[in-house]
């Protein structure tokens, strides 16, 4: 089956000796993770300064998941991110100012102000623009996977969802369909312990990765703070998908370190839990690993950090200065020609 499939665009690296053997790839992943952190920290400040239209959703401690997954697939693959996955957008080439523009309702945001906050995507970068309904991008992703298979291409779809979203029927339907039709789809469960205020024990009575067996697809659990582990698991799932072996569920375990969004002080989260997870900052962990591997010195890491901080500051400046949309054409585009 694999041999008859047409190749989709873009390269994904599967370096011999694993991702850690590829210094250039590792540094790019690190920079993107650090950029996600810098952009989101900046957006938190902007929220506090009253600059944002509404609340701000952040992906602190999700950076290794967003970047590790996006880096392990090709640019031509269909990517369906959600609110914790800024790093996946950045990896694909979305500029930070445009993400901010979405939260500001600017004309230069990906939807020109027609949608806002975290509901953005870039069709030209094969990034789906999700709607609010958090489980809905799972069936949509299976459709993208279906389209690749239908055309005999070896592309795949990769979608993200939180632990909370897995309670939804559409999610189960899509998982089942993907398995039954053996679709080239990768399901990334971002288990961050909470769905808004709802703790894991009120969401599920079983481990997410084990539920994959119920659909007849492999389920793996990885440390969601470990970019290398996430990358390797995704690369294997991608290999299976491209070879016609069907979907994979990857449960990435991490913690939601901020509130559901910045308006939420998350007083329901035990402080000890936050303190425990604070020791496992994915960006710090990857920085330490790069130094240990000899891929970067402490000074080089610090330079990258300063560089992305400056990029986030410049992004804010541009986004704030960008024009608001004008309501002249609001009735256009309800229908396609």
């Amino acid at each position: 089956m694999a041999t008859t499939r047409k190749k989709t665009t873009g390269k994904s690296k599967s370096p011999a000796g694993g991702v850690t053997a590829d210094r250039e790839l590792c540094l790019k992943m690190f920079r993107t993770m650090a950029l996600q952190r810098a952009v989101e920290d900046r957006m938190v400040t902007m929220y506090r300064q009253g600059e944002m239209l509404g609340s701000v959703y952040t992906g602190h401690w999700h950076e290794a998941i967003a970047v590790g997954t996006a880096a392990a697939i090709r640019q031509g693959d269909f990517l369906c991110p959600l609110h914790r996955d800024v790093g996946a957008h950045l990896w694909r080439g979305m500029p930070p100012w445009q993400i901010m523009a979405s939260f500001l309702g600017k004309a230069t945001g990906p939807t020109g102000g027609r949608d806002g906050t975290l509901h953005y995507g870039r069709p030209d970068l094969n990034i789906y623009n999700p709607c609010s309904h958090v489980p809905d991008n799972v069936p949509v992703a299976t459709g993208g996977a279906f389209a690749f298979k239908y055309r005999g291409e070896d592309g795949l779809a990769l979608c993200y969802f939180g632990d909370g979203a897995t309670g939804n029927g559409g999610y189960h339907e899509a998982m089942n369909i993907a398995a039954v039709m053996s679709l080239p789809c990768i399901f990334i469960c971002e288990n961050n312990q909470f769905a808004y205020s709802t703790p894991l024990r009120l969401t599920t009575h079983a481990d997410f990765y084990k539920k994959a067996a119920g659909y007849g697809m492999p389920g793996v659990k990885v440390d969601g703070t470990d970019a290398v582990a996430v990358y390797e698991a995704t690369a294997e799932a991608a290999r299976r998908a491209r070879a016609g072996e069907g979907p994979t569920l990857i449960e990435c375990v991490t913690m939601r370190m901020h509130g559901h969004a910045e308006h939420d002080p998350a007083s329901y989260v035990p402080r000890e839990m936050l303190a425990e997870w604070a020791k496992r900052d994915p960006v710090e962990l990857f920085a330490a690993r790069l130094q240990k591997l000899g891929h970067a010195t402490e000074a080089e890491i610090a330079a990258i950090r300063e560089n992305v901080r400056q990029e986030a500051l410049a992004a804010r400046k541009k986004a704030l200065g960008d024009p608001m949309p004008v309501a002249t054409n609001i009735e256009e585009g309800v229908y396609a020609d």
Binding site: P139, T142, G143, G170, N176, I177, Y335
Partner: protein
């Protein structure tokens, strides 16, 4: 001499028309495929896709699990990624399970992103088959309120084909309402032309001068019957077939009402907030100074649709009621 069997085959039903049009579009465009429950080897609950599996193969005639939300969302994703899915709901009633992907994904995606979502949602709908409260519903009003969807409801064999072709070629999500009552009752001589009928263009199904009856789907056939009876009494009824509800060709309707000065709107859906309320309101605004009688609605009672014949008949509009109402309005 043709045998009896061949003579039968020389007629095309409303159902055949849908089947032929769908097959023709699948022949014409590789990106068109059919998906739904039992559509493959079984040929669909109503046999629209009989023989499709042999002709197009399992790749393009896709049997799905019973998962309306999942497979409708999947159709959205496939369309966003360049395919043109045709989704068969086994009965229109089951589309309630798929509200979310239709409303929140399909209907908004182009407006937000500029990416078209060309999906045709085929829905066998309506009553009169003694199928009861959850197999007889008219679903158009649920969706007519949602910007971004088109709604098509053919009343004739020719339109069943022509409008389906246009729906499939359209770059938007289209709800295609198939009258399962008309499926095998309506026939025309073969062969059927497989030309597209444009969306958004109503048709004067019968010309008349005294009163305008506006309807769609099975109501048009009922209206034509009533018009025939009333013609014998000297009442001339103009019957307008909307064909598409969204977009609605209000100009054709208004032109007719300005001529006749009287309007009756008929449908099988429940009266309260049925699509007729919208049509009546548009007529009222556009034709106020032309009207000789209030715009009048004929619709189902505001009840679920019962199963047993005397009960279902009491709920859905019957031809006798259509005749009486038209007579009353024409003489007022």
């Amino acid at each position: 001499m043709p045998t009896n069997k061949e003579q039968v085959a020389e007629e095309v039903t409303y159902l055949d028309a849908i089947s032929q049009a769908l097959a023709a579009e699948m022949e014409r465009d590789e990106s068109v495929f059919l998906m739904g429950e039992d559509v493959g080897q079984f040929g669909g609950a109503f046999k629209i896709s009989k023989g499709f599996m042999e002709r197009f193969g399992a790749r393009r005639v896709v049997d799905t699990p019973i998962a309306e939300n999942g497979f409708t969302g999947m159709a959205a994703g496939a369309a966003i990624c360049g395919l043109r899915p045709v989704v068969e709901f086994q009965f229109a009633d089951f589309i309630s399970q798929a509200f979310d992907p239709i409303i929140n994904v399909m209907a908004r995606h182009h407006y937000r992103t500029g990416v078209p979502v060309p999906v045709t949602l085929r829905c066998p709908f309506g009553g009169r088959l003694r199928a009861g409260p959850t197999h007889s519903q008219s679903i158009e009003s649920y969706f007519a309120h949602v910007p971004g969807l088109k709604i098509v409801a053919p009343a004739t064999v020719e339109d069943a084909a022509g409008l389906l072709i246009s729906s499939i070629r359209d770059n938007n999500p289209v709800l295609f309402l198939e009258s399962k009552y008309l499926y095998r009752r309506l026939k025309v001589p073969a062969p059927l032309s497989l030309e597209p009928t444009p969306l958004g263009v109503a048709k004067v199904a019968r010309e008349g001068t005294d009163v305008t009856l506006v309807s769609y789907s099975v109501g048009v056939q009922q209206g034509l019957e009533a018009a025939e009876v009333l013609a014998r009494e000297g009442i001339s009824v103009e019957v307008i077939d909307c064909r598409t509800l969204v977009p609605l060709d209000i100009d054709t309707i208004v032109k007719s009402v300005k001529k006749t000065s009287r309007a009756v709107v008929l449908h099988e859906a429940a009266r309260r907030l049925g699509y007729g309320a919208e049509i009546a309101s548009e007529i009222g605004e556009a034709c106020f100074w032309f009207l000789d009688a209030p715009v009048t609605r004929i619709a189902a009672l505001n009840t679920p649709i019962p199963t047993s014949p005397p009960l279902e008949d009491a709920v859905l509009p019957q031809t006798e009621e259509v005749i009486e109402t038209l007579r009353k309005v024409a003489r007022s």
